[in-house]
Amino acid sequence: MEILAALDDFFDYKEQDILILSKGHASLALYALLSERFTNQFRYGTASKTLGHPVKNRQMGIEFSTGSLGIGLASGVGFAISQRLKSSPTVTTVVIGDGECNEGIVYESARIAASHLLSNLLVVIDRNMFQQTGSTSDISGEIDLFGVWRSLNWNVHECDGHNSDELKFCLNRARKVSKENHLPSVIVANTIKGKGVSEFESTNVSHHVSLSPAKYQELMSSLSENES
C-alpha cells in the first residue's frame, strides 16, 4: 500500500504516466488508491469492475488486466516503447512481487527493456519474502535479486518499502540515474507482509484470508491504535 501511495504521489497516473500492478492479487491496495477517484465503481457481483484481480479499465486507470503473474512487466515494456514512440516524457511503472520473480517472462521482459534502453520504465519489487504457500527462500531457493537484475543491465536500487520518504528519495534517484545512463531501473522495496496487523506480520496467512465482521472491526481498531 505504501509503495502504491508513494508512486501515486510521485507520478501523475491520472494523466500520462502508466502504473501496472503486476502482482494483481494485491488489487485491494490498488482499489483503495483508485477509490478516491472512482467511488461509484466499487461493488460486488456480476460485471463488477473490481474483481479479485484488476481488469483493464482505462477510465479507472487500469491499463491492462493482471493477475497471471509475470505478464505485467511484458506489458510495461510495450507501454514504455509506445511512450517513447510518442516522444512522451512520461514513465511506465510496474509493481511486481518477489515471488512473481519466479516467472521466466519477467526475465524475458527485463532483457528486452535493457536492450531497447527503456529508461522510461521503472520496476518496483515488493520484496516481502513470501509467496502463496511459504517463504520465497523455502519455495524458490535463495535468489540474488540484485545480482540477477544487474546482470540484465538494469540500475538496481534498494529501500524500505514502508517508509514513504525513503521510497520517494529512491524514486527520484532511480529517475535521475535512468535519465543519465538510458537504462531502466528497478527498486527493491523491502517490506513486511501483513505489516500493521501483529497476527499477520511476517507470515503468509494474509495472502488470502476472509475476515469476519467482528475480526474486521478488531483489526481496524488495532490499526487505528498503531497509527495514533
Partner: protein, 309 residues
C-alpha cells in the same frame, strides 16, 4: 506488386514493405525477420521495426500493449512458438483485453516437416479460435494475404493470419478478395472446399476426379471464423457430399465450424461463449450469466423446441 514465386511468408514481408510507403504501422518479430521476408523492411524502415529477441511470451504481451496505445502492430514468428508458447498472452493481452495487434503465424501446418514436430503446427486454429475477439484468416492465395493485411490496416482489430505452404502457391483466384470466399470451379454432386495454401492442389484434384467421371465444384475460403457460415452452408447445400481440405487437425478447422452449424437442427450446444465481460459474482451467479443455470438451460430448450415444433 509482382509476388510470383514467393511463398506466403516471404510475400508477407514484401507486402509490408510496400504498404509502409503509404501507411503508418510497426512491425515486430522474435529473431525471425529473415523467415518472414522482412529484411528489406528492416533496412528501409528501421525505426518502425521492433526486435524482441527469442521471447515469444513477452513479445506478444509487449506488442499488444503497443497496439493498445494506438499503433497498428504486426507481430510474426513461427506459428508453433507464437500460438502455443504464448497462448496465455494471446488469451489475456489480445483476446481478453481486445488489443488490436495483428499476429502472423509463419510456416504453419506441416511445411517444415523436415525439421520435425517442434516446428510444425497442425493445431493452432483449435487453440486460437477458442478465444473470442480474434479474426482468423488462413490465406489461400497471395491476394488473400494482401487483402488481410489491408483489412487490418484499414481498421486495426485483433487478428491472426495463418501462413501455410511454400513457394508453390496461387497468386489469386478470380474473386477471392470478396470476403475471402470464391467458387473457383463449377461442378455437381460433390463440392470441395479448400482453406489455406493447400488450394494449390485443387487443379490437380479436379483433373484426377474428372478422369474418374466426377465433376466437383471447388471453393476457396480463407476466413476461418467468418460470420458467414450460414451463407457458406446455403451455397454448399445443393451438393450431395461436401469435403473440406485443410492443413489442420479437425478440431478448430473450418470443417468443424461449418459442421457444428449444420448439425444445429438436431444437436444444440449450451456452453460458454468465451466472453469475459460478464464475470464477477459467485460461481452459480456466473453460471446463470452464461446461460448455464437450470432455469436458463430449461428456457433455452423450451424456446427452441417450440420453434422446431
Amino acid at each position: 506488386m509482382n509476388l510470383k514465386g514467393h511463398s506466403l511468408r516471404s510475400a508477407y514481408g514484401l507486402i509490408l514493405n510496400d504498404r509502409a510507403l503509404r501507411r503508418d504501422f510497426l512491425v515486430s518479430s522474435c529473431d525471425t525477420s529473415t523467415s518472414a521476408g522482412l529484411e528489406k523492411f528492416k533496412r528501409q524502415h528501421s525505426s518502425r521495426y521492433i526486435e524482441f529477441g527469442i521471447s515469444e511470451q513477452a513479445a506478444v504481451a509487449a506488442a499488444s500493449a503497443i497496439a493498445s496505445q494506438g499503433f497498428p502492430v504486426f507481430f510474426s514468428t513461427f506459428a508453433p512458438f507464437l500460438v502455443f508458447r504464448a497462448a496465455e498472452q494471446i488469451k489475456l493481452s489480445v483476446s481478453y483485453d481486445s488489443s488490436p495487434v495483428c499476429l502472423v503465424g509463419l510456416a504453419s501446418g506441416i511445411v517444415q516437416s523436415h525439421l520435425g514436430g517442434t516446428h510444425c503446427s497442425m493445431e493452432d486454429l483449435a487453440l486460437i479460435s477458442s478465444f473470442s475477439n480474434i479474426e482468423i484468416i488462413s490465406p489461400c492465395t497471395i491476394l488473400d494475404l494482401e487483402v488481410a493485411i489491408d483489412r487490418y490496416l484499414a481498421n486495426p482489430k485483433p487478428m491472426y493470419i495463418r501462413l501455410t505452404g511454400d513457394s508453390k502457391i496461387l497468386s489469386s483466384t478470380s474473386n477471392s478478395h470478396i470476403d475471402f470466399f470464391d467458387q473457383i470451379k463449377e461442378g455437381k454432386d460433390v463440392a470441395i472446399v479448400f482453406t489455406g495454401s493447400v488450394l494449390v492442389q485443387a487443379e490437380e484434384v479436379s483433373k484426377l476426379l474428372a478422369a474418374r467421371n466426377f465433376k466437383p465444384a471447388m471453393f476457396s475460403v480463407a476466413s476461418i471464423n467468418s460470420e458467414n457460415y450460414d451463407s457458406i452452408m446455403r451455397i454448399l447445400n445443393p451438393y450431395q457430399r461436401v469435403y473440406f481440405v485443410e492443413e489442420h487437425v479437425r478440431s478448430g478447422s473450418l470443417y468443424s465450424k461449418v459442421a457444428d452449424k449444420a448439425n444445429f437442427g438436431r444437436f444444440g450446444y449450451i456452453g460458454l461463449a468465451g466472453d469475459y465481460s460478464r464475470l464477477g459474482g459467485k460461481y452459480f451467479e456466473a453460471l446463470a450469466e452464461y446461460g448455464l443455470s437450470a432455469e436458463r438451460i430449461c428456457s433455452r430448450i423450451v424456446d427452441e423446441m417450440h420453434l422446431i415444433c
